[in-house]
Symmetry: D2
Subunit: 394 residues, 4 copies
């Protein structure tokens, strides 16, 4: 009898898991003003209240409505507002519209959460979860954890692009793991097993576990720091196209990019917006909020390269990770024998497997318990607003 | 000694005027949720909290800072946030950004209002207003009244474009003036005096008063109703380009326009969003929320035309007006001998005198005391979101 | 028996008129390379071969097809290619597509012209023109003359935006009329008769002739010269928003405008592209290729204004005109009693009567015999590519 | 002494190679009208005359100017016009502008070609090519061959988007290789050597040759045909998002895609534009002009997938290929140990290694001698205008 079977029959454990995740979303939002929940400065950022509603909608739509007999939908129009991209479940609101919706209000959404939580508790008390339902339940929790990270990155964007630079939390302390520089780690050539292995939860994109032949490589034990990145900037990194992809160079010129996101040159020195407010740059901190084009250009300037995702996974037990999502040189594509699941759940990952790059690791914004060495995060190469950094390979 | 001189030396009267206007803005917002203050669904609509801040910034910037000795600016960064388009007074926030600003919060803005009001009261108690200061004071009040109308039109847009169609006020009763249809009024040809005449306040664009020769014309005593407009729709008004300007026809095709703004064909009948929520169309009400292209196309379909602004003004004492802003066939251009004033105040009207059409009258959203027969409102021909209607001439 | 009746029954005169106009279009194109006929650098410019085809299509569509019994259409697909904006006559090619069409070839279009000319000659030999047909015939000739001016402005744009700056004709001599500066002409206040009067051809927008009351004004006898405009530039005209309309200032910033179209600052001096190639600026020549925003800003900088179109018409007999289309301060709107004609011909002018400004006079590109003091040209305020200039009023 | 050394010292062979390639470009253009050389209907398509000039500029810039002493540049402004994207060699014309340039004329460009050819011949007669120069020479020939394929695809686009559907060549017979359907080929799991091997020319992106572990797979011996693709269309392939990537589905909706590029449903049956003009669909021909999204969706509908580029290369000796560029499921990324070369030549391939997908094989438009089983073609997933098709893996 494996771990999963034990969990799925233990009501108290299910409730504890559920409540832990659900409360954490609300805790992330606790420093916000009502107004902060509402805006959407760019299309990639969602209003915090939308994240709170959408993660709730997931449990209502995929568990309560189909499986909890007698469940009464909270508000039938919420599907229209809180569906994100599940084409299978009816017309979605175009993403750019999210920031136009003043209603449901924040209070309405907290009421919605409370209602769904109450119903989920009632359901978990009485139900015997089939494998299928348990795996949706687990997916719902992991889904909400993903949105917890997005909540923090989106809140940072909203406050960090306000001319008043309001701090999120003046006492915020990112929980960074030690990132000691002990040079490069040599990995031998050979066949490596890649992908998820184990009995707990994983996303479908981490499967099937498969063999990958890798040439020998050396990977840095530590992330690139702000002071190293500053040197790249000072030596003309943003002015010389030879370091950049063609698309990356277009991005530099279009945005007149000169520094990572959130950096501002004020009164003769570089500062950055942090969750504690505007601060002097810490030279020893891992550089953050750079996109794939920047990560790549930095590596080219150093005469090195980004790791393949399989290299990263193979070497990950030899270095500390978890401070920054680390851009890899791998495009986000299906693993051998990858299969999309049927129905709406099948839309989770597979349909994004084009024109995105894989990031590995986790960041200070990743909720506890939501990271694995086989985890595949993915974003478009232009995106800077995640807590993303650089690890080099030579 | 004229009216103006009396007023500007009567502190109690000044305070009463000031407070009446200032309180009215807040009263308009009283039914709102905090979230409703924040969003900006289209570039033409401003978030309600911005209107509240901007009108306050006007008094701070043009009266308190230059004229109230010892005045301490509330927050020096607010100029950056609440300036609208006064290039003379420093860098403005690009209009499209307003909906991205969660801060200052609604509470902050009410605090700002209270602070400026307190300071204005102190100032008015002790100051002797020069002609110049009095005219800025008066302009500030009229400016805020203009924003009161925009507050209501923008709130309607925000709530009326929310998929939940929340009412603004379920008991709202627009204060319509009787609009009895007594056919067409015949006006003889001749010289008419046009423009502001009197001693009270007027905008610079209503001057200089001047002579205008008009041919004989007949003008309708009443506005076009919903039932008449519905007939235009049913007889293919939106499908036949011959009624439309070339630009108007492009607008129809681009927006697949079929009806006035806020109209929805639901379950077999036309309904519209009103400040009381979604309602059946009232056939006898004056049609509302149509743009110049639509007004013009309707008139062409009827074999008539829109009045010139001078015809409207000349005939205005013979009909009731004030329910709808009435599109005229006149472009918004300077009157003979019009002069822009110096400084930021000079930016108020003159710089908009191109590519806009004049509307005359007032609407149910116009604050009491803010209408005159010489008043020249103006919008781009494509704009529908004002309470705009149609009066015909033949 | 009036002039028109005489003409329309005189076959030889009709043929002479027809051939003179038709040959002139071809003569304008004679210096072109085949490639120059094809491109469309901006949406406002049409490829020269399109002008040649479109003007031919006009005679085929409105005269030969409906009135010349037995006429065989040259190519039934040409209606699709050469209709411009006559919605009445079937689906038109979207204007932006014109520059994508390599076929019909230039040779094909000359063959088309020859075929239609031959047929028109046969038709004119045998037909007795009704009033209606004669007026379409006359309109066709005037229509082609309008396109002759556009041909020249579009050719200038095509060659003047090529990095090789090829001359159109190295010996081109614009046929400028003397433009002697004899100060300002004083015009008394009073009633003026405005609009077309006479028996020859005029466009529908020049009617009805009507009375207009004008205040006294003084109008310059000469156009603003390059040296005067250069002074405006040197004194910061393009850097100070107070001279500009709000839309105009947005245009300046968006295009980083610093000088009229075709001006280039090269090796320390201002040069401009002319039909003879790149030249030093002639300081005494009337400034050319400025848009309404620029004309307006220049006038504001001088403390003067642009004339109303009626002022221009009333005073036009007191000065020489014809070198530049002169921007007026009048929006393009219908005259009193203006009526659109029925059918496609009715689409000629009326549907453009919104968001455009009137220009009066004529330019060095206007064909002989195609100018009148009542002529109303019109363009969007942003357009620079016509031979447009400035006359001031104070 | 290897092949390469022999060639590079054999003047006659070099001249023969050079002239063969150069003449072929001109032969491709021989059926064109002058006008066809000029237009650029979309940004991805270049005007044929630009291809002719650009390939010539390559030899002038990288061989004659640096290496042929006394060489006189044909026209110093041509670098501005014909540089494509070599940032190292000065300001380039923005790609979208190419279709606006009527000059240099087609005749000028043929003169330019003749001049450069004459000079190249003189140079090759007298020079002893270093390895470096020889490799640039060889690159120049391969570069021109790539543009020969683009010439044909761009010409097809230009003529195929003209409402008159002019044939390129009524007797054109694409030179298709036999593509016999003998089911699926089974390939065993194992280590495969991937990348260029040999002594002739290859692009830098085909190196370094490296080991790749592949699982067992079965690959179709033949390409998907029009009749199979039609079945996908008829069974709702373009209406059901489950087959599509999220980006692909957005593309379908934005373009209202229903069929491959060049297909038209006319008078009750599907036709397509071919180089011979408009034709009935041939059901047995390999489907062509589909993009990656379509190829992928078709494979999903079949319950199969696209091959990895390494699978394709490993199996390529077991099937005929060369009729269509075959979309793979591999993103275009550097091979292990890939290094960009220094200088402008280094910009050739590496900087495009993001957000593009690999195509393998060759097409009927690929010049003879310009294909290899290790050749890596690449395009954005949205591109349809190449001669691209589908091979399946299960």
């Amino acid at each position: 009898m494996n771990m999963e079977t034990i969990v799925k029959n233990d009501t108290q454990l299910l409730l504890a898991q559920y409540n832990k995740v659900r409360r954490h979303s609300e805790q992330i939002c606790s420093p916000l003003e009502t107004e902060d929940y509402v805006v959407q400065p760019i299309v990639d950022v969602s209003p915090p209240k939308w994240h709170l509603g959408h993660t709730t909608w997931f449990f209502e739509t995929f568990i309560l409505i189909p499986h909890f007999s007698g469940y009464k939908v909270f508000n039938s129009q919420y599907n229209y507002v809180f569906n994100s991209y599940y084409e299978t479940v009816g017309a979605r609101v175009v993403r750019t519209d999210r920031g136009n919706l003043s209603r449901p209000s924040v209070a309405d959404i907290y009421t919605y959460r409370a209602y769904v939580d109450e119903q989920m508790e009632a359901y978990l008390q009485e139900a015997v979860l089939t494998d299928e339902i348990y795996s949706i339940f687990e997916l719902g929790l992991n889904h909400e954890q993903q949105h917890q990270e997005l909540l923090l990155t989106d809140i940072k964007y909203i406050l960090g692009h306000n001319p008043l630079f309001p701090p999120y939390n003046e006492n915020y302390s990112g929980n960074e793991k030690p990132d000691v520089d002990s040079g490069f780690i040599s990995m031998p050539e050979g066949m490596y097993e890649i992908g998820f292995k184990g009995t707990g939860f994983s996303f479908d994109n981490e499967s099937a576990r498969h063999s990958k032949y890798l040439e020998a490589f050396e990977i840095s034990s530590s992330l690139v720091t702000n002071s190293e990145y500053l040197k790249f900037m000072q030596q003309g990194g943003y002015e010389n196209f030879i370091y950049w992809h063609s698309e990356g160079w277009d991005w530099v010129k279009e945005h007149q990019a000169k520094a990572p996101l959130y950096w501002h040159f004020i009164d003769g020195s570089w500062k950055y917006y942090t969750l504690k407010g505007l601060q002097e740059i810490d030279p020893d901190e891992a550089v953050c909020h750079i996109n794939f084009y920047e990560a790549s250009a930095f590596a080219a300037w150093k005469g090195m390269r980004l790791p393949l995702e399989e290299e990263w996974e193979a070497a990950s037990s030899f270095f500390n990770w978890g401070n920054r999502w680390e851009w890899t040189g791998s495009a986000y594509l299906p693993y051998p024998r990858y299969k999309k699941e049927a129905g709406a759940i099948g839309e989770y990952n597979g349909k994004f497997m084009v024109n995105q790059m894989v990031l590995r690791g986790a960041s200070i914004a990743t909720p506890e318990g939501h990271s694995r060495s086989s985890y595949r995060n993915f974003f478009h190469p232009r995106h800077q607003w995640q807590f993303s950094g650089i690890r080099l390979v030579k």
